[in-house]
């Protein structure tokens, strides 16, 4: 990225000035090194988003931001409830894609003797990869119940424990879902995909805590050095993808109908208060519930696989966060509370201490922010900060972010060799697709530690613990 277009406010804060037609500035949080790696398209997309009606305060880019479609990935933008817009592209294709992390109640020593068996057991038990199907088939009526109920529905079906729900954003169930506004095609795509991991950067990882940066918060989250955790990265599967496809198309026409000037088709949006805007929000919330239910079923499958080999294991959910959402939240704008639709696309909500939406256990310390790694590199647990509200409407980064295209990665790595190399470092990778492994090579991503350090230094969230992979089931 050409940084000469930016004004540097501090070591980790850079501003793109609000020049017409932008209504607000763009604010990027990153080190200079991360900024230089960022695509120039990020700036172009931030300027486009900043020009949409009803936008408030600023368009934000997290340290892992990169070129998306319409909105940058790692982008945050909030719109006023009365005269703002909602954009399917501002949420992304994998609605409510996210991460949940569980504590196994075990230490590295406990799993060392059966690591290979555990990897195989998880790989056999958790459907992963292209075309894989789950054991659950949802008929239309049950599909609608799932889309209303989210993880709460899954727990009622026996896929989890009631106490899981308080450790999930929205307590596992997004209000305001409208399953009747989700197309038949979207529901068909999902009929056999409940409890499947997906492909690409989705994974189930067994990890060890290797470092704790903040003992007080780590204690509140229940993690300590040597603990074994499980992280699941997955989303709303085919249903969410089809909702995004259906409504992106509708929004192209809606934007035209409402006279919204779009710099690009990919910015397609609709006024929040329009029929089209409300329909998308209802369908998107149903897709959020689909993602929450899916991660809940995947959790149940992980618990079953652990119970078979390690009856002592007790997989307790630490927290579940979503990355691709548009949520109605109250934020302080120029000192006054305002209801806003906050788009977080490849960004994590990061409420600071005291926020009423947080579970009791975390209210004093802030929200866990779970940052996914890349199969061969670390993952992190961070915590929301009090200053995050003013800095980024309580938002933080979501992962490493790609640095290299799939095509380039495929030229540079071979899947089988990569699996062998990671094995030599003590990381067991199981995947149905060697090509998928090569495309997802850790080297194709940005340095996750640099991303996390930037989020920490910028005050978006603070580092709590570092996790290293032991076993990775790749989709």
């Amino acid at each position: 990225m050409d940084t000469t277009r930016l004004i540097q406010k501090s070591e980790f804060e850079w501003w793109l000035e609000a020049t017409p037609p932008m209504g607000v500035p763009g604010i990027l949080y990153a080190s200079e090194a991360l900024l230089r790696e960022m695509d120039d398209k990020v700036l172009e997309q931030m300027a486009n988003v900043a020009s949409l009606p009803g936008i408030v305060q600023a368009v934000y880019a997290m340290p892992d931001a990169h070129w998306g479609y319409g909105f940058p990935i790692g982008g945050v933008a909030a719109f006023r409830e009365d005269d703002g817009v909602v954009s399917a592209g501002g949420v992304g294709f994998d609605i409510s894609c996210g991460v949940r992390t569980l504590h196994t109640g075990l230490t590295v020593e406990d799993i060392a003797p059966i690591k290979q068996d555990l990897a195989q057991g998880l790989f056999r038990h958790v459907p992963a990869g292209v075309g894989s199907i789950g054991k659950i088939h949802l008929e239309p009526a049950e599909m609608d119940t799932m889309l209303q109920g989210g993880a709460e529905w899954a727990v009622k079906q026996g896929y989890g424990r009631p106490e899981d729900l308080e450790r999930i954003e929205e307590h596992g169930r997004m209000e305001g879902a409208r399953p009747e506004l989700v197309s038949l095609q979207a529901k068909r795509r999902q009929a056999d995909e409940m409890g499947t991991l997906g492909s690409g950067n989705h994974y189930l990882e067994v990890q060890q805590v290797t470092e704790v940066f903040d003992t007080r918060v780590a204690e509140a989250f229940g993690v300590a050095v040597g603990d074994v955790l499980v992280s699941i990265h997955s989303g709303s599967r085919g249903l969410g993808h089809q909702v995004a496809t259906d409504y992106s198309r509708q929004m192209v026409e809606a934007a035209h109908k409402y006279g919204l000037e779009l710099a690009d088709l990919e910015l397609a949006c609709a006024p929040i208060q329009s029929e089209e805007g409300q329909a998308y929000l209802g369908a998107m919330r149903a897709a959020i519930n689909c993602a929450l239910a899916n991660r809940q079923i995947l959790t149940h499958l992980a618990r079953e696989a652990f119970a078979y080999l390690l009856p002592r294991a007790d997989l307790r959910l630490i927290y579940d966060v979503s990355h691709n959402t548009a949520k109605l939240e109250e934020h302080l704008i120029e000192g006054k509370p305002q209801r806003l639709y906050v788009h977080r696309k490849g960004a994590t909500r990061a409420f600071g201490p005291g926020h009423p939406a947080l579970p009791e256990a975390f209210r004093a310390v802030g929200q866990p922010v779970l940052i996914g790694g890349t199969m061969g590199t670390a993952s992190y647990i961070l915590v929301g900060t009090p200053e995050g509200e003013a800095r980024s409407l309580s938002s933080s980064c979501h992962g490493a972010g790609r640095a290299m295209s799939r095509h380039q990665a495929l030229k540079q790595w071979r899947g089988k060799e990569l699996v062998r190399e990671l094995g030599q470092r003590g990381i067991i990778v199981r995947s149905p697709s060697p090509r998928g492994v090569a495309e997802e090579a850790p080297g194709a991503y940005k340095d996750v530690t640099a991303v996390v350090d930037a989020a920490h230094a910028a005050g978006l969230s603070r580092k709590v613990a570092r996790l290293e992979p032991l076993i990775c089931i790749k989709g």
Binding site: D39, G129, Q185, H241, R406, R435
Partner: protein, 148 residues
Amino acid sequence: MTTQLGRWEHFHHQADIGVRGIGPTLDKAFEQAALALTAVITDPARVRPIQAVEIECEAPRISLLLVDWLNRLIYEMATRRMIFAQFEVHLSPPDLGGALSLHALAWGEPVDPLRHQPAVEVKGATYSELEVKQDPQGHWVVQCVVDV
């Protein structure tokens, strides 16, 4: 090299992947874009065209029709758990309401994880880098980014 049937290619995108079809006619360019889509998932040469699926769609603009075409293929792949390697596309001129329509056959087979080694699911075709144009040689070039 451009043949009578055209050719396909992928173009750079940091996180996702661009698919491009090039052909002497729009029909052929659309067919090649579909092949480029398959190549995101697997090597098209590994796919046997043994079963046909019929696809019809319409849109007010040719560029939107390209996105709809690719999205229909993504839908058919997802719900039938198939992968396609051969395409026959017929585009029709605008009807009285101004809509362009597409009628196509896509040949392929059910996904076989061992033989196809599919790398990634395509979530959807986007309007990013969406273009339908003729190059100086008169060949049709159609492209967009697909989200993976």
